[in-house]
């Protein structure tokens, strides 16, 4: 059995299809677009999807465990906005960071607790906590949509960090991807996530601590969101909470799903996120080089997603055996 599956047409799955599309796009852009294959442009592509990819890693772990975290973008933007606001009003760095860390932990725990112990569907819980986080921080803790990073603060310096002329986000994305890979593949709790995602009841019956693990996943997703937020602020020297209203959340789900992580849980891994992120990155970069207006960019992006899903549906039809209860 081929691991990726795109060499053998019989085992062609969505990941394989998307990977093939990404490779074709890459080759076409490399031949047709001047400057595309330039190393600096390739670094720019990876960088442009780093924050998206980091958020998608957190999302992937939650989705594999048959959940979804719609509060990720709100946590990302609002935690960092609050942190910067505290710094701007003179709170010492350590105290401010401790507050924010505690806040992020609390929201992750709340998400996990409501899903695991109160048995509320994840989609409603995280939708609500996301709105709550945005509303509370925006109305009570910060005064403006955009909060600047104080001059000379470490977040600003972080944004200027380069190794071998490659921005720090790329390394953080790579590092986190590797850690998540190790976690999912080689740790006991990582393997358990697949069991719990595939069949929670059976997983519980064989003695896997399904509920505490669920809580852990939402906490993990919240922490990842904080890291993504810090990297965004580092690069832009400010954070704009307007991003909560943007399509970023859908893009995160898109990266995970287009890469082949089934929303029904139990399937996929870090590689799927990387494939999804690669496709989106190459696509956006090529379209920007060709100077396609944003409206058409969205249309093309959506058409490719739809195409991948349709092809997946034809090649891997759903039947009673593969369909699961709780399938979204």
């Amino acid at each position: 059995m081929n691991a990726i599956g795109w060499l053998n047409p019989r085992s062609l799955n969505q990941e394989g299809i998307v990977f093939a599309i990404a490779v074709m796009l890459f080759v076409a852009a490399a031949i047709g677009l001047p400057g595309f294959i330039d190393p600096n442009n390739l670094v720019a592509i990876v960088r442009s999807v780093s924050v998206l990819g980091i958020l998608a890693l957190g999302m992937a772990v939650v989705i594999i465990g048959r959940g979804i975290d719609l509060s990720a973008v709100a946590i990302m933007a609002m935690s960092v906005a609050w942190y910067l606001q505290l710094l701007n009003t003179g709170t010492s760095d350590g105290v401010a960071f401790a507050y924010v860390l505690a806040g992020v932990l609390a929201i992750g725990l709340l998400n996990g607790f409501l899903v695991a112990y109160a048995d509320v569907p994840a989609i409603f819980v995280t939708l609500a906590t996301g709105s709550f986080v945005f509303g509370y921080v925006r109305s009570q803790l910060i005064t403006q949509d955009a909060v600047p990073v104080p001059q000379g603060h470490w977040v600003e310096l972080l944004g200027g960090l380069r190794f071998l002329d490659i921005p720090i986000e790329v390394f953080v994305f790579a590092g986190l991807a590797f850690l998540f890979f190790l976690f999912l593949r080689f740790t006991k709790w990582g393997r358990y996530i697949y069991f719990a995602g595939d069949n929670p009841v059976a997983a519980r019956n064989i003695g896997i601590p399904v509920r505490p693990m669920l809580v852990l996943r939402y906490v993990l997703s919240a922490f990842v969101a904080l890291i993504a937020g810090l990297l965004t602020a580092a690069s832009l020297h400010s954070i704009n909470t307007r991003v909560v209203n943007s399509t970023l959340l859908y893009d995160i789900v898109l990266v995970a799903v287009i890469g082949g992580i089934g929303l029904s849980g139990g399937r996929g891994g870090v590689r799927n996120v990387l494939v999804g992120a690669a496709l989106i990155g190459i696509l956006l970069n090529a379209m920007t080089i060709i100077d396609i207006p944003l409206l058409y960019q969205n249309l093309i992006k959506a058409a490719i997603l739809l195409g991948a899903i349709i092809v997946d549906g034809i090649i891997n039809p759903r039947d009673e055996q593969t369909a699961q209860q709780g399938d979204i």
Partner: protein
């Protein structure tokens, strides 16, 4: 004799009184009419969102003035969501406390047209601020975006200079918002007159700083000799500036943008060289224009929807060289003033 004296004295007194009375201010009909026309009137501002500098500045100046003449000032915060804004306007029109003046910051050319018509039919004067719309409001107060685009293009051409590559990049907002469309038209008008200057790329940022950074990175990657970039809003130009910084082209690419003239958003960034030029709106004056037209409409007695006035704010491209201590207004100072009360 005594009678004559008395009569004369009385006549003098009368004459004096007759001459003096008109100069007593107490009988000037102005203030009374003013107070009668304005007292208790309601003014409501529905911006795109309350969380950014322009809206907070307008609200500050309007509130101060409206409350001073005995009116009520309210804001609604749709938080960038068009539907929420429509809901706020609908609720306002149908409520018992229907505003007498509705100030609307339109998200695009058409979304609120029907609602604004309804408001006027109910007797509410409608003011459009900042963003024009396909609707004959009682007054439009804001920038002439076409002219603003021309100023940006002129600043970019000047920033590039004669011996440059003469390549200009645009980071547009989107393809729906009038401020973005007209700004583009204005820029192209000027560039048509300077055929040696070329627009090498014109991606959209969708008003998002991260997108602005990504498209600018690509633009600079493809055209490292770009001499100037015009980003359509200071709210996302932080992204374009990050891309320029990352490409180590600080000082080589002249970044032009536009904004509300807030200190940290515009003047500080002009001072530290992040922006080359900013076409700034004089927010205090723009708010003053709104206040004047509100006072005029409420006293005019004319029904809502009968006048169509355009009051364009004077715009100017400011560079580091002509930066003055009062070039910008300070949101922090306004907020401090508001909390001190």
């Amino acid at each position: 004799m005594r009678l004559i004296k008395t009569l004369m004295a009385a006549a003098t007194a009368l004459a004096v009184t007759a001459f003096v009375v008109p100069t007593f201010a107490a009988d000037d009909p102005g203030p009374a009419a003013y107070a009668q026309a304005l007292k208790g009137k309601r003014v409501m501002l529905v911006p795109l969102a309350m969380g950014f500098d322009l809206a907070q500045g307008w609200a500050h100046y309007l509130k101060k003035e409206v409350e001073a003449w005995g009116g009520t000032f309210e804001t609604r915060d749709p938080n960038w969501v068009v539907d929420a804004g429509a809901q706020a306007i609908t609720d306002a029109i149908s409520s018992d406390t229907r505003p007498d003046v509705l100030i609307i910051h339109a998200p695009d050319l058409n979304s609120y047209s029907k609602l604004m018509k309804k408001a006027q039919a109910a007797g509410t004067y409608v003011l459009l601020v900042d963003n024009p719309a396909n609707f004959p409001a009682d007054a439009f107060v804001g920038s002439d975006w076409d002219r603003l685009g021309q100023l940006e293009a002129e600043a970019a051409i000047k920033g590039c200079g004669e011996n440059s590559s003469k390549k200009i990049g645009l980071v547009q907002g989107d393809q729906a918002n009038s401020s973005s469309l007209y700004q583009y038209a204005g820029i192209m008008k000027v560039l048509d007159k300077h055929p040696d200057f070329k627009v090498v790329a014109k991606p959209d940022s969708n008003w998002d700083a991260t997108t602005s950074r990504n498209v600018t990175t690509t633009m600079l990657q493809q055209n490292p000799d770009i001499c100037s970039i015009i980003d359509f809003w200071d709210g996302d130009a932080t992204g374009a500036s990050a891309a320029i910084r990352d490409a180590k082209l600080d000082g080589k690419v002249f970044l032009v943008t536009t904004g509300g003239g807030e200190k940290t958003a515009d003047c500080d960034k002009l001072a530290d060289g992040t922006y080359g030029a900013v076409v700034m709106t004089d927010l205090a004056r723009q708010s003053g224009d709104m206040n004047a037209i509100i006072k005029f409409l409420l006293q005019s007695g004319q029904p809502a929807g009968t006048s169509h006035t355009y009051i364009y704010t004077l715009e100017k491209a400011t560079t580091k060289a002509d930066l003055k201590p009062d070039s910008c207004w300070d949101l922090k100072a306004l907020q401090a003033e508001a909390t001190a009360k």
